[in-house]
């Protein structure tokens, strides 16, 4: 029998890389070596069936979620539905908006239940699930442009913070976006929740009808995409400062709403070198953006 999933330790011998089809996870656990090994074993064992589980319900997971949606069978699919359900009544969203975060959560859960870890993370292409034992913390770096990776800033997540999920979305990323944000990074209580919120906020960073934005119906690029004929951003021209602020403002309004109803803890929205922060990003340090260009909404 051939196993499709690929599981290996990265050259640093600390992190594990799990790959199957479109899923790539970077996993790292900290603790007693025996416990770390047990956690990696658990992650591997859980991982090998993930893609098949998801694909068995793929057509359902690609359909728009409504409040009356049936519940899927798979544990990951259920995490996805749970994450997108709060948005179902007000906007178009499919469970696929939470797939990366949900996979990260599921693998992390398998690790944490199998071993006693000081801390751990599962990074599914920028959508990250965190485990923090008492007194532990993670310093998380933020990147604005995946095509030109440089650190935009860092934020520290401590065990006393409620944040256990981090996600980033933007039109330059691997998934399609309806908006023009270079990157929206969201901190939320769980990874799947952060994943869908980042998608929703990044979609809201927009200048509808602006001629410098090239949009193409998603189905023309990827016929079986869950976005159907919705226009997804393919290229973005230079905006004037005022337009940048206007687009970020639109995204920030959405982010603030999500913050008020407790769906996210904070968000950093980036567009053409300007970053706007919503909610307290814990102990954050923004590096790349000059201070005068930042407008802190809540700080």
């Amino acid at each position: 029998m051939k196993q499709r999933a690929q599981i290996r330790m990265l050259p640093d011998r600390r992190r594990m890389h799990l790959h199957d089809g479109p899923i790539d996870l970077i996993v790292e656990a900290f603790g007693e070596p025996r416990e770390v090994e047990a956690a990696y074993r658990a992650a591997s064992a859980r991982f090998v069936t993930v893609l098949d589980e998801l694909c068995s319900e793929l057509s359902f997971l690609r359909r728009a979620c409504s409040t009356g949606s049936a519940w899927p069978r798979g544990a990951i699919a259920r995490r996805m539905i749970a994450a997108v359900m709060p948005y179902a009544a007000e906007c178009f969203v499919t469970p696929m908006a939470a797939v990366a975060g949900a996979v990260a959560e599921e693998i992390l859960a398998a690790m944490v239940s199998a071993a006693k870890l000081a801390r751990a993370y599962v990074n599914d292409g920028g959508d990250i699930a965190l485990h923090l034992g008492k007194g532990e913390m993670f310093v998380v770096g933020m990147v604005e442009r995946p095509d030109r990776p440089s650190l935009l800033g860092t934020t520290t997540v401590r065990s006393t913070d409620p944040v256990r999920g981090i996600a980033t979305s933007g039109w330059r990323g691997r998934s399609f976006s309806l908006g023009i944000a270079d990157a929206v990074t969201v901190l939320a209580d769980r990874a799947a929740a952060a994943d869908v919120a980042a998608t929703i906020i990044a979609n809201a960073v927009d200048l509808p009808g602006h001629p410098a934005i090239i949009r193409v119906p998603a189905c023309e690029l990827a016929p079986d995409n869950d976005l159907g004929n919705r226009p997804v951003t393919q290229a973005v021209g230079e905006f004037r400062q005022q337009e940048v602020n206007q687009a970020l403002e639109a995204g920030a309004r959405t982010a603030e709403r999500l913050l008020r109803i407790g769906l996210i803890r904070s968000a950093a929205l980036s567009l053409q070198g300007v970053t706007q922060v919503v909610g307290a990003l814990g102990e954050s340090r923004m590096i790349a953006t000059p201070i005068q260009e930042r407008r802190l909404v809540h700080a």
Binding site: K2, Q3, R4, A5, Q6, I7, R8, M9, D20, G21, P22, E37, Y40, R41, S44, L51, D52, C55, L58, R174, E220, L221, A222, P223, D224
Partner: protein, 498 residues
């Protein structure tokens, strides 16, 4: 949908991919209506024998206006598509990724190429050294994990058997990963450090001298101790009274050896420790080690008993030398018949130098060994056992990245190939863990049809000649038989059982 989108079947997501786009994994894409894997795919280019020197591939490719396979070469069977980077299919029973037909001397040849995922695979390592690396059956470790064992030694060489399913998937995950890493690196021609339990630390790299406990091995022994006596007896005769060639396998003594007797070398009253095999040939004179002739000897005199007073005489000249000429000592007996070390006379120095000269350079050689399983064979034909029979009947030639293989007799398609005869980085892995190795089956089109091949998937060689930057063209090694050649291949006329 009537467009030229393709359905990717590399994984169960089954992405529907538009031309110029990639699937959700970014690893497979649609290039002009065809599903391609984005890793480079290797095309072997037969070295043209016209010129003295071979033009580097890249410069030549530039002259070709981007067309990677030259038409005139195609018609002469000068291009061979290897399985390196060809990809595999999911699930297994689908046809192999490339089934290519080419015309060779008017006969239609088919090459079925695929990358096999080999769980049943490993390497046999031959290390040219007499030094004792470890006892037979000792565990061989890489990164602290057991990845194989010391196996039966061969002439002048120590042998390791590494990998195999029990280390790849039968042990812990770490053992499997360490084994897979070691195999992958060895197969791709990289150096790997191996530690043998209760033995040596040896750095092994295909085609390079071994490094044993930090010291690079220069040469392999000229022969066993007995053979060395036979080879050099004449050159020693008259210049020295007796010679002991120290060897962990068979230590030779000139005066007792058949070669010495024939020359009329008189008895010297020498006594060797160890177990006498036949006259002048001794087993087990010392423990195996990394010193004199692969023994643990630091002082060669310790293998000698007392000289017989009846036969020996004061002033008797004795040379002791190892099988590589690396260690030697010259002694003369004193009045009490005790050997005293003296400077090596010039005429003996010459013979020691000659032993050295006659030693071949010590190398590590790595043979990949794998078995083509049911699913891989199913990618070639709907009737997998027929492929096995066809290989057995020499109708089908098996190559590994274009390199010749030895197919082991008996059931299945278990083969060995010298990794240095394949293009660079021919091997990959999947972290099952298992090695991914290229394997090609070449046979006549008619024979392919007869064994139930996927005839509807056969593509002419010219169909993969489209400008395609993901194909890597490499020059074939001159010393490899050309996989499509009629004289080196198959011999289908004589061996065909019809």
């Amino acid at each position: 949908m009537a467009d030229d989108a393709v359905r990717c079947d590399a994984c169960p997501v089954l992405c529907y991919i538009k031309p110029g786009r990639t699937g959700s994994c970014d690893r497979y894409g649609n290039h002009e209506g065809k599903l391609v894997r984005l890793d480079p795919h290797v095309v072997l280019d037969r070295a043209m024998k016209r010129g003295e020197s071979v033009v580097p591939f890249l410069e030549r490719a530039r002259d070709w206006d981007g067309s990677l396979i030259h038409q005139s070469e195609v018609s002469h069977g000068e291009t061979f598509v290897t399985a390196i980077g060809a990809g595999t299919t999911y699930p297994d029973y689908k046809p192999a990724p490339f089934i290519i037909s080419s015309q060779v001397e008017g006969v239609d040849m088919v090459t079925v190429v695929t990358e096999g995922i080999f769980s049943y695979c490993g390497v046999k390592v031959k290390i040219d050294t007499d030094r004792h690396l470890g006892a037979e059956c000792s565990a061989v470790r890489a990164e602290g994990e057991v990845v194989g064992h010391v196996t039966t030694s061969e002439y002048g060489s120590q042998m390791l058997s590494l990998g195999g399913v029990r280390h790849l998937t039968g042990g812990s995950r770490h053992e499997g990963t360490a084994t897979c890493d070691a195999l992958l690196n060895l197969c791709n021609g990289k150096a790997v450090e191996l530690k043998i339990d209760d033995g040596a630390n040896v750095v092994v790299q295909a085609g390079k001298p071994p490094i044993v406990d930090g010291a690079q091995e220069e040469r392999m022994r000229v022969g066993c101790g007995s053979a060395t006596i036979g080879m050099f007896a004449k050159q020693w005769f008259g210049k020295v009274d007796d010679v002991v060639v120290v060897d962990d396998h068979i230590t030779g003594v000139l005066s007792e050896h058949q070669a010495g007797k024939l020359l009329g070398v008189p008895e010297t009253g020498i006594k060797l420790k160890g177990r006498r095999s036949t006259p002048g040939r001794y087993f087990q004179v010392a423990e195996p080690g990394t010193s004199w002739g692969g023994t643990d000897l630091e002082d060669p005199l310790t293998i000698l008993g007392k000289f017989s007073a009846k036969k020996a005489w004061p002033g008797l000249r004795l040379l002791m030398v190892s099988t590589t000429g690396e260690h030697y000592g010259y002694f003369e007996l004193d009045e009490g018949l005790k050997p005293r070390e003296k400077e090596l006379p010039a005429d003996l120095r010459e013979s020691v130098a000659r032993i050295k000269e006659n030693c071949e350079p010590a190398l590590c050689t790595v043979l990949f060994m794998g078995g083509a399983g049911g699913s891989l064979r199913a990618g070639v034909t709907e009737n997998p056992v027929k492929l096995t029979h066809s290989v057995r009947d020499a109708l089908t030639r098996v190559t590994c990245g274009g390199a010749p293989v030895y197919v082991w007799p008996g059931g299945g398609i278990t083969f060995m190939a010298d990794v240095t005869r394949m293009p660079q980085n021919a091997f990959g892995y999947v972290p099952t863990p298992a090695l991914v190795a290229p394997i090609e089956f070449t046979l006549r089109l008619a024979d392919y049809a007869a064994l139930g091949g996927y005839m509807e998937h056969v593509r002419p060689l010219s169909s993969i000649s489209a400008e395609n930057e993901s194909r890597r063209r490499v020059t074939a090694r001159e010393d490899n038989p050309w996989p499509l050649d009629s004289e080196t291949k198959l011999d289908s006329k004589t061996k065909k059982k019809r």
